[in-house]
């Protein structure tokens, strides 16, 4: 059996050099740690290469693109209407909001985005706000679960389930809703939906209060997220952050207020902003946004033209046969409607040449569509400005100097989704 024997160096100078070497090893050696792409706290397939000095992060390099499907390339090769199902798969936690954003972008190109029927506008606002609550609930649940508070995740999913039921009732699908159409929505609200939505609002606020009792003043939670990853106002603007991450840093910017679209002008709601810009502020902003969204929903329920069951037969689509599909009855009985239907299905909505950018206040931030059209039924180029992609670009800056156990908290507070980031 071999034995190990330490050899003592007799020379004192050599001994001190050896000691210095050991010290060097203790201080200087950095470890590179690979986090992801399949890591429960990275909300999908984000990979981050961390350089560590002990437990402190000295460098972080996010590696995105594992979910890249080439949505922009696909969009160039199909009609505007055919792309709607692809928008479901951008931010798959809020597909209804993506549908609304995309439809509005194409309608802006057509020049009809401010001429939509009022009932359609209210339906779309309700969809977008339900999607916001749903996305924030998941963001909150996953954030809390990563920090060890599993109860919040289970409770928030109980509420999300109700939103899924609502979206299933209007579109037939829980996740891949594809509810909007260019110039309107797929169909009017089904009977009883508005009452169901009111019931959700009534039940949601007590549930939200319960989440708050679990987290907002919880000592462990506050200790872990307060003063962590502070993003200053200037940095937030410089890095192009949007949504709750921008507002958490104290910038009062919300596209629903600043560039009002749909019927947001007629609705009363507040924009919550943070004061410090840490993870706790971002959490608080999301909590308050859910309350404001419920407020918007309740106003919509009261004000929706035609009422809950649309007794007065308010239209939900633009009355232009060249943009929205005619009714089946008319297609079968009238020549002109038959031609319109044929042209819309084969060639798509004929858009004028030109370029537009439309930014929509999505749950994660500003979801923008830049459409460059040369006329006809397909875009020449469509760029999707995804909020998660831009929000993630600040990771190399805010990770430096934090502890490795804080990474999950910071990622949770940024609340991104990779389907949208990678497109």
């Amino acid at each position: 059996m071999a034995t190990v024997q330490d050899i003592e160096i007799r020379d004192s100078a050599a001994r001190s050099a050896q000691a210095a070497d050991e010290l060097q090893d203790m201080h200087g050696e950095k470890m590179v740690l690979n986090m992801g792409p399949s890591h429960p706290a990275t909300h999908g397939v984000l990979r981050i290469v961390l350089e560590l000095d002990g437990e402190i992060i000295t460098k972080a390099d996010p590696d995105v693109g594992y979910l890249h499907r080439g949505d922009e390339k696909i969009a160039e090769n199909m009609t505007y209407t055919q792309f709607i199902p692809y928008t479901d798969r951008l931010d798959y936690l809020a597909p209804l909001a993506n549908n609304v954003a995309y439809a509005l972008a194409v309608e802006k190109l057509l020049g009809i985005h401010d001429k939509l029927p009022p009932r359609c506008q209210y339906i779309r606002v309700m969809c977008a706000e339900l999607a916001r609550i749903s996305a924030h609930l998941l963001g909150l649940g996953a954030f809390a679960m990563d920090m060890g508070a599993v109860t919040v995740f289970l409770l928030s999913f109980t509420e999300r389930e109700k939103i899924y039921n609502l979206s299933e009732a209007i579109s037939g699908a829980r996740l891949t809703t594809s509810y909007t159409r260019i110039g309107g929505v797929m169909r009017d609200l089904p009977p009883g939906w508005v009452a169901q939505c009111q019931k959700f609002c009534d039940e949601f606020i007590p549930a939200l209060n319960e989440f708050e009792t679990l987290l907002t003043r919880n000592r462990i939670w506050v200790d872990r997220v307060r003063d962590l990853a502070v993003i200053s106002k200037e940095d937030a603007i410089d890095y192009g952050l949007s949504g709750p991450n921008l507002r958490g840093s104290g910038v009062e910017w919300d596209l629903r207020k600043k560039q009002p679209y749909l019927c947001y002008k007629d609705l009363d709601f507040d924009i919550p902003t943070g004061s410090v810009g840490d993870c706790y502020d971002r959490y608080l902003v999301r909590m308050e946004e859910m309350r404001q969204s419920t407020r918007i929903l309740e106003q919509c329920i009261k004000k929706i033209p035609g009422g809950a069951e649309n007794k007065t037969n308010e239209p939900v689509n633009v009355a232009d046969g060249k943009i929205t599909l005619p009714s089946k009855q008319k297609v079968l009985s009238s020549m002109e409607e038959l031609i319109h239907q044929f042209m819309l299905v084969t060639e798509g909505v004929n858009c004028p040449p030109g370029e537009i950018y439309f930014g929509h206040e999505n749950p994660k931030g500003e979801l923008g569509f830049y459409i460059h059209s040369k006329g006809g039924g397909t875009p020449y180029r469509m760029k999707i400005r995804s909020p998660s992609f831009v929000n993630l670009s600040i990771v190399p800056k805010i990770f430096v100097g934090t502890l490795i156990s804080d990474t999950v908290a910071i990622l949770g507070s940024l609340d991104f989704v990779m389907g949208e980031c990678d497109r």
């Binding site: 995105v64 922009e72 696909i74 410089d238 370029e355």
Partner: protein
């Protein structure tokens, strides 16, 4: 200050370098003729006109035209809620223009994405690597001469799917009087 006034101010400052502001659907677009000056114009827009927020950078492939590339900047002034669009053309031989990263740090990932997808380089960018595709991927997929079906590459260990058979009906077709196979854009070679 409205978007049009901001555009006029840029026009006054840079003269012939800037085209007349064009308006479409309430959005103001100005074109910069010399892409090398993009830094100076952006710096002026940020410092003097308050465009402190860069919303997005996109790129266009004007395939078959010269200059081939257009790079599109969406600028926003957060404080007075004004947006303008700034465009500049880059020729195919050059395929390079200065980075605006020193002006807005959010440009970092946007420029990396444009390099990745279109192959336009940004001089002065400290870390111009691919971002969505993997390191070492040989093509630029958003170019118009890149087919929708993709191209095989020599890289080992990368999974590629074959073009789907036409029998089950194509997923995407281009409208026109031809048969189903030639209407399938994934089979079509853009060079033809």
């Amino acid at each position: 200050m409205s978007a049009l006034e901001s555009a006029q101010k840029i026009k006054v400052k840079f003269g012939d370098l800037i085209s007349e502001p064009a308006e479409f659907r309430g959005e103001i677009t100005v074109k910069l003729t010399d892409a090398e000056q993009i830094n100076t114009v952006c710096e002026f827009a940020k410092m003097e006109l308050g465009f402190n927020y860069l919303v997005d950078i996109s790129s266009l492939d004007n395939y078959g035209e010269d200059p081939r590339w257009t790079v599109v900047y969406h600028l926003r002034a957060i404080d007075n809620v004004v947006e303008i669009r700034l465009e500049t053309n880059v020729s195919e031989e050059k395929s390079e223009l200065p980075s605006v990263l020193p002006i807005w740090r959010t440009a970092n990932w946007h420029e990396r994405e444009i390099y990745d997808m279109m192959g336009i380089r940004f001089s002065g960018h400290p870390d111009l690597r691919r971002i969505l595709m993997w390191e070492g991927y040989p093509y630029f997929p958003l170019r118009k001469d890149f087919p929708l079906a993709g191209k095989p590459s020599e890289l080992p260990g990368v999974a590629f799917t074959k073009i789907s058979p036409m029998e089950g009906g194509p997923f995407v077709t281009v409208a026109g009087g031809k048969d189903a196979i030639s209407r399938e854009p994934r089979i079509r070679n853009p060079e033809e």
